[in-house]
Subunit: 264 residues, 2 copies
């Protein structure tokens, strides 16, 4: 069992940040990544549709014999986790609970959450944070333009800063000390967000927190692969060209071999 | 045959501008619209994937017994028209040729084309324009942020203007007198584009030109429905909530009844 791979999926390239953090904390693990690039994005789509897509993506990874499923997409984690846990007989880790745990360390208990429409509408971050910190004051804002800005390579552009000024106004008024980056694309905008919110606000990157949760689970259950130099396999549902190109920024390394598969 | 409906499809809401123009020129026609909202957008996806989606969308409309297929999506028109004409035994009209015909009326023969990555990479607009105007100087620019800006309701926002300044720089240098709005979302940005390019540039809206092509075809082939007050039926592949909301801006009217269907 310990020698099996970890299956990680996302709607596209964003989840590569989660893969990167897992590879960093658990370098011996074999990792299989699936990006559903033929149907990306999930963030603007309905709960029913995202749930169907998540089940199909998970089906593909489970068929590869993985020992753990990591939902490296905030939208899919927000709406599909119970359905995935019900369908499959293996541990499933999403990005919401790890992020919420870190956010609940807020000192002034004023927490901001930013994400896609799907993630924000689901209200899953506030729910998860309130379970741990019942009197937290949480301000949530959907920021649909952040993903296309990051994918355009404009994360550090003046236009990204002005967009952040527009979106983050309610978070400034709320005097938050902690901001959940509730979308895997948002860490690319970290500098821009700091310019707007100031450096005093703690940014919670779900990718890092999720990798820690995976590590913790593996130590508890003895699931860690005791070797060095795990393999990495990348699959996408559309032609890999764009994924390879945009994915480099997220992975911080070249994506040489990426295979196309059909899962619908 | 004349009493059959016109089938119109797009990846999402943008094609409603085409439907609106057809309804305006041919008010007696029954119109069936399909928005593939579960897989939107097409503009960032590969030729193979967009072709498959377009064939599935057309399959649905043809099964409704339509007399004409209108591909109201620039990306799908750019990459899927030959495949659609080969598969189905009915006239198929895309948005590229009508737009190119209008652009070829340029006086200084310096023409700009803006669109999604898919449309620009296909090179279909330059090809179609060069057929009519061989010595035209054409400058093409992909503008991926325009669609999310329009869908966010920010078409008239300062951020949209700054984005346009960034994208349209090569078109200003090229001293174009005609700009093809090669994506059904772009007419919403017309005022913003005029602020950047000046009012001396003719904007070619494919929606209007495509409706004229449909009208022309119907007069030539005697296909027009000789009644008044045609019906309108709307179908989408995701839950209709967002489509109804965003679609209002494109249609300029309420979208009351929209039905969800599965086509994949």
């Amino acid at each position: 069992m310990r020698h099996r791979a970890i299956g990680i999926f996302d709607s596209g390239v964003g989840g590569l940040t989660v893969l990167k953090e897992i590879a960093h904390l658990l370098p011996g693990e074999n990792l299989i990544y699936l990006g559903d690039t033929a149907r990306v994005p999930y963030g603007t789509k309905s709960v029913t549709t995202v749930r169907r897509y998540a089940l199909e993506a998970a089906e593909f990874l489970v068929a590869q014999g993985v020992k753990l499923l990591v939902v490296a997409c905030n939208t899919a984690s927000a709406v599909a986790l119970p359905a995935l846990r019900e369908r499959f007989q293996l541990p499933v880790i999403g990005v919401i609970e790890p992020g919420a745990r870190r956010a609940a360390e807020s000192l002034n208990r004023r927490i901001g959450v930013i994400g896609t429409d799907g993630t924000i509408n689901s209200d899953r971050y506030p729910e998860a944070i309130h379970t741990l910190l019942p009197d937290a004051q949480i301000t949530s804002v959907a920021c649909p333009l952040f993903v296309p800005l990051a994918e355009e390579g404009w994360a550090g552009h003046e236009i990204a800063r002005l967009t952040a000024v527009e979106y983050l106004r309610p978070l400034l008024s709320a005097q938050i000390d902690t901001l959940v980056l509730g979308c895997t694309h948002y860490p690319l905008l970290r500098n821009t967000l700091e310019k707007v919110l100031g450096t005093g606000v703690t940014m919670v990157d779900s990718a890092e927190e999720t990798a820690k949760s995976v590590q913790q689970l593996f130590y508890q259950q003895g699931l860690a692969r005791p070797e060095h130099g795990g393999s990495r396999n990348f699959f996408v549902t559309d032609v890999p060209t764009r994924f390879k190109h945009v994915g480099q920024t997220f992975l911080g390394a070249d994506l040489v071999q990426v295979e196309q598969v059909q899962i619908d």
